[in-house]
Symmetry: C2
Subunit: 179 residues, 2 copies
């Protein structure tokens, strides 16, 4: 990796984006990278903007603030404005096809995917975060699939193990359709 990699998972409160970012951070450190993560919480966080940012580097990574996003997930229209002007021209941007009606525009690679629809089909809207995480990591080649899988397994409550595994596989399939 020549430079730091800046990743943002964003949407609305309650969508599990901070958890998904924490899982990605753990998976990346398993592969030897250093990761700094930040997020903010507001009193109206359920329904309001929610985001978690990762700065990944091979050296020290104590500075968690992103300024030029390389990899972006947007799960809700409310989160578009906060990132629109920070997306690098060669970035990968994954949005929810249903809830993000006006995705950001630019020269970057935009994949409008049925993330929440897939989660609902699999049985639980709440696993859209893992579908999104899986699709983004596959499209960006961010980390090894098995490392991600083991990390998701470790962080899943028992009742979510099967759902999250289904979500991972569905995300990979969505990503493959974009290639």
């Amino acid at each position: 990796m020549d430079r730091e990699l800046e990743i943002r998972l964003s949407g609305s409160g309650g969508q599990g984006l901070i958890l998904a970012a924490g899982i990605l951070a753990e998976a990346l450190t398993t592969e030897g990278r250093n990761v700094a993560q930040s997020q903010s919480y507001e009193p109206t966080s359920r329904g309001g903007l929610s985001r978690s940012d990762l700065v990944v580097s091979d050296g020290e990574a104590d500075y968690p603030l992103v300024s030029e996003i390389d990899c972006l997930v947007i799960l809700d229209q409310v989160a578009v404005a906060a990132s629109r002007d920070m997306i690098r021209p060669e970035a990968i941007v994954v949005t929810d096809a249903k809830t993000v009606t006006e995705p950001p525009a630019g020269s970057f690679r935009l994949a409008e995917l049925p993330l929440s629809e897939t989660a609902i089909t699999l049985g639980n809207r709440r696993i859209a975060n893992i579908v999104a995480l899986s699709a983004l990591t596959a499209m960006g080649g961010l980390c090894d699939r098995d490392v991600l899988k083991q990390t998701v397994l470790r962080r899943s409550p028992k009742t979510y193990v099967d759902l999250n595994m289904d979500a991972l596989h569905a995300g990979w399939e969505l990503a493959e359709r974009c290639v």
Copy 2:
């Protein structure tokens, strides 16, 4: 609150400090505050330094980096050096009496508490994070006890509900002995 409040929970990897900080962030937003949180992960995080920082304000709180710590938990000697020079003179510092053999020195209020020992007595070393969180919030008057309790309940896996409730109460008792 006149100024931003800066809180750091620190120790070694695997002590559950990022989880504890996330719980505190949620409890504080329930009370109407804005919170920005950051943490870093290193490949050697189990055993190495681990910390999560919160910046709490009544206005916008997008900047998650602490520079002058008001409230500090140290659960492992390895974490002392990273914070030693950032502690405000009137801060509250809670350290583990057993694992932090050389706590930071200064005019601040230092409470060396049997956090890990209490956790072990309650049946599980891993709940030292909640004992510490509970003691710090009580000593600092950071948030309402019932709000903290409800947040811990919401974030506890089923197998940890009783343990974490015991940890909360034990932390409050430790804090009361320091008054």
